[in-house]
Symmetry: C2
Subunit: 375 residues, 2 copies
């Protein structure tokens, strides 16, 4: 497991990936993120204490600190490794994926590598609650100083007077957000470089210039452009990890739908609509967004992820390298299990879950029907 | 979808992979196996007729004939391809896997690439039904002239007088099986080459020499060796696709368990035991086999695969490139779906399966509980 830089608790030594793999019965080796050695060390001790307290073998868990490229390569190519969990950059995720696929016996890589999280606002929504959406969107973009993998980084609108007014409202809300400290100075540096880059692209207007402040603080940044410019500059499709977003005005519904497809794979996609929007338009955008993401959000914001059976935190590449899985929620354990069919097996040799009497009292499919009854 | 040479019906243009992908709503392009152009053409017309009859777009299905390497490479690297199903050799499967992993946006490959299907017979089983097992095993090895991917290709025994007697019984049953026609002359040629190779390895006894006959007919072949020789010759771990098997005598239970691990990934693993076998021995072998295969068979034979919810036709590499999935059974559809989470979605925009009233009447998890009730 390769811990994340942005969530040392949820994606660190003791995070969801580790929990899923342990719950499925696998020993876990964690490569701590270089920016959080102390936090990971503390969590590592917590896991060891839990193993001792529950009488599980201490060999179930290991924690490695060190340079990512060296330690990562050694782990990914080790014959005993059977699966890799990773959260981080597309470059590092791709490198692990390629290493794992080139092994004599390839292993799966569950890499989360970035997401633009498009958010579409249709005219009907602006007609009803432009101001509220501006306030909510700025809150979502700047939550945790924009360091959420689900931060809405692209906002799609139809070019009309209502969207101009909405953009002005966004500016007011965003300019009022004070600078806040990012997780590391490196993160701020990368965010500043990305936004500097955006601001120099012809056709991109800098509506709010983010300002660096102190050791690692940053105030939010807002950009606007039209779909033609956005399509012409693939660098505008690179994730700027931090408190910033880009508003993209589209010429028509057709333009909007075609432009959306270029956002690639995403963890989330959001749609705001109102009673004035035609049902076929709403459905067309929803269908388009469904192709792009693992989670669709209607009239809401994508930041904030509930750990529940219905959660999908995943999506087409590069959101994850394994779009059929999720890293958050009850289904996350499926990354680390393998199905086995037991044919003509004596009851005592079956796992408890499959024994005739159903000692676990779980739902099972018996001769095609769902039941909790014994056999 | 790349059709198989050995099952032009079940793994051809109209086989399980095509059915799973279509059922999940995906258009399918089939690369017909070069040995079955006519059969695939007939199935292709059947699929088109079904699309017409059901009013589905004809674009849902395409059939390509041609040389595997050329057509396969073009399909695997095509940007529109989202997943690959394949049944065939380890070399071709690995090539597709590597191509798919090297794409700018990698896609999953569900490749079935061969399986040795170890079958273990413990002394208690031989004490009770040696003759019956010999008869059943020969039937399984020679079913379909040995051209089942689940053919038991390795038989593990403990070296003792009972296993010598059993081997003699195997010889009698196998020598009585008449030559039968294999699917293609090439298959027979490959099988003859593999068995010729086995017969020249020092320490390998040829107990029944398979004989080629007519255009593509073959009589079965039986070899015996000990675990030391088998371990020293990795070529004995290569699948000989056809009516043959190798008996391996092990010096002890420890030797048996350690030798089994070298069989790699398998579609199936089988265990015959009797009332005289110690429960810990039975459990140790069962646990060892569980690590090796997608389906465990007790006191039976692995050939014959039922299409049912409990089926797993898969297993660790090279049995398949995606051991968390199955190519046969109700779960096969999961290879071709991607989960999507719908958050705050208006009822009318939800798939029928998720609408509040539960119009499909399916089992669902609502607030953590299984129910068929509406919300």
């Amino acid at each position: 497991m390769f811990g994340a830089s942005n969530f040392p608790f949820a994606y660190g030594a003791c995070g969801g990936d580790t929990a899923s793999a342990l719950a499925a019965g696998n020993p876990v080796v964690v490569k701590a993120h270089e920016r959080h050695p102390g936090t990971n060390e503390l969590f590592g001790h917590a896991v060891l204490a839990a193993l001792h307290a529950t009488g599980l073998p201490v060999e179930m868990f290991g924690l490695l600190q060190g340079p990512g490229a060296t330690v990562g390569q050694a782990l990914a190519t080790h014959p005993a490794a059977r699966a890799i969990g990773f959260t981080g950059s597309q470059r590092a995720g791709r490198a692990l994926f390629t290493l794992a696929a080139a092994r004599p016996v390839p292993i799966p890589v569950f890499a989360e590598m970035g997401s633009l999280n498009p958010l579409v606002i249709l005219p009907g929504a602006l007609a009803e609650r432009s101001e509220a959406i501006a306030a909510g969107l700025v809150q979502s973009v700047t939550l945790g100083v924009g360091q959420f993998c689900t931060k809405p980084g692209l906002v799609f609108l139809l070019a009309d007077p209502a969207s101009e007014r909405f953009t002005s409202q966004l500016v007011i809300h965003m300019a009022a957000v004070p600078p806040a400290t990012m997780l590391t100075a490196d993160m701020r540096k990368n965010f500043c470089a990305a936004t500097q880059h955006f601001s120099h692209i012809p056709g991109v207007r800098t509506l709010v210039a983010g300002a660096a402040n102190g050791f690692a603080a940053m105030s939010p940044a807002l950009f606007a452009t039209n779909s033609t410019t956005w399509r012409q500059h693939p660098e505008l499709r690179e994730e700027a990890f931090g408190p910033g977003t880009i508003v993209i005005q589209c010429a028509s519904m057709e333009d909007l739908l075609a432009t959306l497809e270029l956002t690639g794979g995403n963890l989330t996609a959001s749609l705001h609509f109102g009673s004035g929007d035609a049902a076929p338009d709403v459905r067309a955008v929803a269908t388009g967004l469904e192709r792009l993401a693992g989670r669709l959000v209607f009239n809401g914001y994508p930041t904030g992820v509930e750990v529940c059976p219905a959660m999908v935190h995943g999506g087409p590449w590069p959101a994850t390298s394994a779009p059929a899985t999720t890293s958050v929620g009850a289904l996350a354990i499926q990354r680390f299990v393998r199905p086995v069919s037991y044919q003509n097996t004596p009851d005592t040799l079956l796992p408890l879950e499959l024994q005739n009497a159903n000692p676990r009292g779980i739902w099972r499919t018996v001769n095609g029907a769902r039941t909790k009854a014994g056999v």
